[in-house]
């Protein structure tokens, strides 16, 4: 299950949704809005997404995780819009018979989400300035493009279409 939402994420309900008597392990990851980043103070984050593609990519990474590990249930929710300090921006919940797989899959899901799902955050710094966060992109432009010289599907999700 994957979902984008403008509402606060009910991570307890999400966790309940992956529990089952087939599983001995549940791992939940929450991304939360941290106040300090590299010594700068944030007051809020704005998240936006390219919705249809983000949902499609989330479904792909869930499918890839299920190919790699024997998972029971998977639930991923990403919040969009204005988030205040401490708010939950993303929740990933995974259940599996044994714990190693649940840990590895949850880690894979959030790592891959951050690399490949078209969602962006904008910092609203305490000093009143705002800044889109685009990893690898300097204010002067970028040195190299991860897609220009590579196959259409980024490496992290290539396995999703074997």
């Amino acid at each position: 299950m994957q979902r984008l939402t403008e509402e606060p994420i009910d991570y307890a309900a999400l966790t309940e949704s992956v529990r089952s008597t087939d599983s001995g392990a549940v791992v939940l990851f929450l991304g939360t809005v941290r106040e300090m980043t590299n010594g700068r103070r944030t007051t809020a984050l704005d998240y936006e997404a390219f919705g249809p593609m983000a949902e499609s990519k989330l479904a792909e990474i869930e499918a890839e995780a299920r190919r790699r590990w024997p998972l029971d249930r998977v639930a991923i929710v990403h919040r969009l819009g204005r988030l205040e300090l401490g708010d939950v921006s993303v929740a990933v919940a995974v259940s599996s018979p044994h714990r190693v797989e649940a840990f590895e899959a949850a880690r894979y899901l959030i790592d891959t989400l951050k690399q490949t799902v078209p969602i962006w955050k904008k910092e609203n710094w305490h000093d009143g300035t705002t800044e889109w966060v685009h990893p690898g992109l300097e204010s002067s432009g970028c040195k190299s493009n991860p897609l220009a010289d590579k196959p259409p599907v980024p490496p992290a999700v290539r396995g999703a279409t074997p």
Partner: protein
Amino acid sequence: MKLDVRLFARARDAAGAECVTVELPAGARVADLRAALAVRSPNLRALVPCLLVAVGTEYADDRVLLSPNAEVACFPPVSGG
């Protein structure tokens, strides 16, 4: 052919528009789209080399051929999570 290109995040802010239309010859590829975008929106020029391009809901590299009804989106590196 005319293609509507959706823009997101810093690319949208730089272009001052959520969508820009570019004119491309038949048989154009993603690389041609990049070049056309830099001409169409000079404020995007610095960003263009590092934009990710999606056709439909799939990432597309510079060699991908564009059809007249392609749904195209361009955006800088993602930062969800």
